[in-house]
Subunit: 206 residues, 2 copies
């Protein structure tokens, strides 16, 4: 791999491959093919082979991929062979659901803490977490060395929260607020906005 | 527009343009440029101009885009100049948060009903909604003519729920369960999986 530059669009597909392979593994499967993976994901087999070939040789012509091995390799490539601590900012409906979400298990992430600015929420419990005061956010995140965060605050507050997180050393932000935000590289931002997905599908409706 | 085929990757960017333009409108702005829009979204101005030119002439060289007009045109193109009723399946943390989510307002969607299979949840209230029995789902959705749905059930149940929804006439599914599902065209599926986004960013972490 080394310093080879790989387009982000390819990186974006690797987590999908990993998710499907992990599921096959849980189904007790040992070997798969780019064809099968492609059918599960709606991506062509050729695309999958081309994407994976960027990172090395993971399968043998005609004998397919060893699922366990490819899972391990993809986890290494994506740096999720460890668990990243993630901070959640905003303890409303979305933030609370995300903090309790079981879907991060075995994916490389663990919600470590949750913040809110509302005095009525600070100190209350959400699952196993005690809601922390977002005024203390920068210090606490810096101290804990947290590099990833999810923002689940109202749209008007999202940029301000993102700025604070980046100042605290956060490098990756998943933004649930329905607004575009900017962060200074090398920090990155990705979005969860259900309306964007629904609109993309509404285009095809009659 | 007519029957011209436009790549889905372009369709996928239109909701982002619309969201930014609507926000500018709320900020009291009247005119914008592809440059400004591009900076807000991290997309090149040339790309934005090229994408929009697929659908007609929306701005004049040098004088930019009328925000209100472009919002209206994009809403027409995406078929969100109306409100689509959306069914939510699964009244757990995620489903409940989605049902109460304020972010669908002015985006073209309205949560119309929520289903669950758990007898302890059926009949209880989530915000303004009474949780309906998912055994009745197919009939109720068919009767109501609902075409869009969000799935927030455990991964093992997602495909089965999707099949039922498609049989009931649903054409667009937003799947929150962390698993790939398949639907028979013309039905479509999109995904919300925070781990996928976090993994994509983890790749760039040291």
């Amino acid at each position: 791999m080394g310093n080879k530059h790989i387009p982000d669009i390819i990186i974006g597909r690797l987590p999908q491959y990993l998710r499907s392979l992990q599921r096959m593994g849980r189904e007790g499967r040992q070997v798969t093919s780019s064809q099968e993976l492609g059918e599960r994901l709606g991506i062509s087999a050729a695309q999958i082979r081309k994407d994976l070939s960027q990172f090395g040789e993971f399968g043998k012509q005609g004998s397919g991929y060893q699922i366990d091995y490819l899972v391990e390799q993809l986890q290494n490539i994506l740096h999720v062979n460890k668990e990243w601590d993630v901070a959640v900012v905003g303890a409303g409906d979305i933030g609370s659901a995300v903090a309790r979400y079981k879907g991060f298990i075995n994916r490389g992430f663990r919600v470590a803490m949750i913040f809110d600015s509302d005095p009525r929420k600070i100190g209350t419990k959400i699952g196993d977490y005690t809601v922390l005061d977002s005024q203390m956010m920068k210090e606490i995140i810096q101290e804990a060395g947290i590099k990833m965060a999810m923002i689940a605050v109202p749209a008007e507050k999202a940029q301000e929260v993102a700025n604070l997180l980046v100042e605290a050393g956060v490098k990756a932000i998943l933004n649930y607020a329905p607004i575009s935000i900017t962060v200074t590289p090398p920090a990155r931002v990705q979005y969860i906005d259900p309306s964007i997905h629904l609109q993309r599908m509404a285009y095809y409706m009659e």
